[in-house]
Subunit: 142 residues, 2 copies
């Protein structure tokens, strides 16, 4: 048995997409790269703008399609805070999002393995935890 040292990113994408019946395409790769390169929770529009730099012909609809594909395949998460555009995050580790109401930054924060006690019968598949407040810097500046 050939030892696989570690999955390359490409392998990882191919497998995750494949498991959902989807293919890895250059556009999906590109959109994923954008998410990973700057983990600032960009909106679809921002992803579009960044992706265009490397791939000028990519279209708006494709970015939405790619983001959906990544989300469905468990490669990215949607982050919805308030009204306004949905944001995307490639961090699949269990975490929540802290939104600083002052500087508007979104931070990933580790959260305790969700022992969230739900009423009997509810079957949870996914938790979205958004916390609003002030980040350390803004809290200090009072």
């Amino acid at each position: 048995m050939k030892p696989r040292s570690h999955h390359s990113e490409e392998q990882h994408l191919t497998e995750s997409l494949g498991a959902t019946g989807l293919r890895l395409t250059p556009q999906r790769q590109q959109v994923y790269d954008v998410l990973v390169q700057k983990r600032d929770h960009p909106t679809a529009e921002e992803v579009f703008i960044r992706a265009k730099k490397a791939m000028p012909d990519i279209s708006h609809a494709t970015v939405y399609n790619c983001l959906d594909a990544l989300v469905k395949s468990g490669l990215a998460r949607q982050v919805t805070l308030d009204r306004g555009a949905t944001r995307y995050c490639p961090n699949m580790h269990e975490h929540g999002h802290f939104h600083c109401d002052t500087c508007q930054t979104v931070f990933d924060v580790d959260l305790p393995a969700q022992a969230m006690p739900l009423p009997k019968g509810f079957a949870a598949e996914h938790f979205d935890i958004a916390i609003h407040g002030k980040c350390p810097d803004c809290a200090q500046k009072k």
Copy 2:
């Protein structure tokens, strides 16, 4: 000292809005009533449609304005689930939202007094917890 048996809803609204520098208007009252009468987490558009029945001249922008006023005054919460319209909820008791991916219903669920351990320095003001999965009925029907 005159005993105040309990706040009337109107008093409650007037006080909460007042504390934020806002007035209780017939429109705000109406929008609040819509939220309280059917607690199914309606979107702004749905609130608009329902409010129009009792107040045919109310406008779209006013509904948004009223909802914002209620949220700012701590009389209602925004509920954002995935992409798509924001929903509103007059339940100010600490709770999270369970969204059934099958029947699309949104349930209020009690959650443990948030002992959510945040990294040092973060000052949380508000938690939004959305859980996706299957509600008891849909989970059973398999």
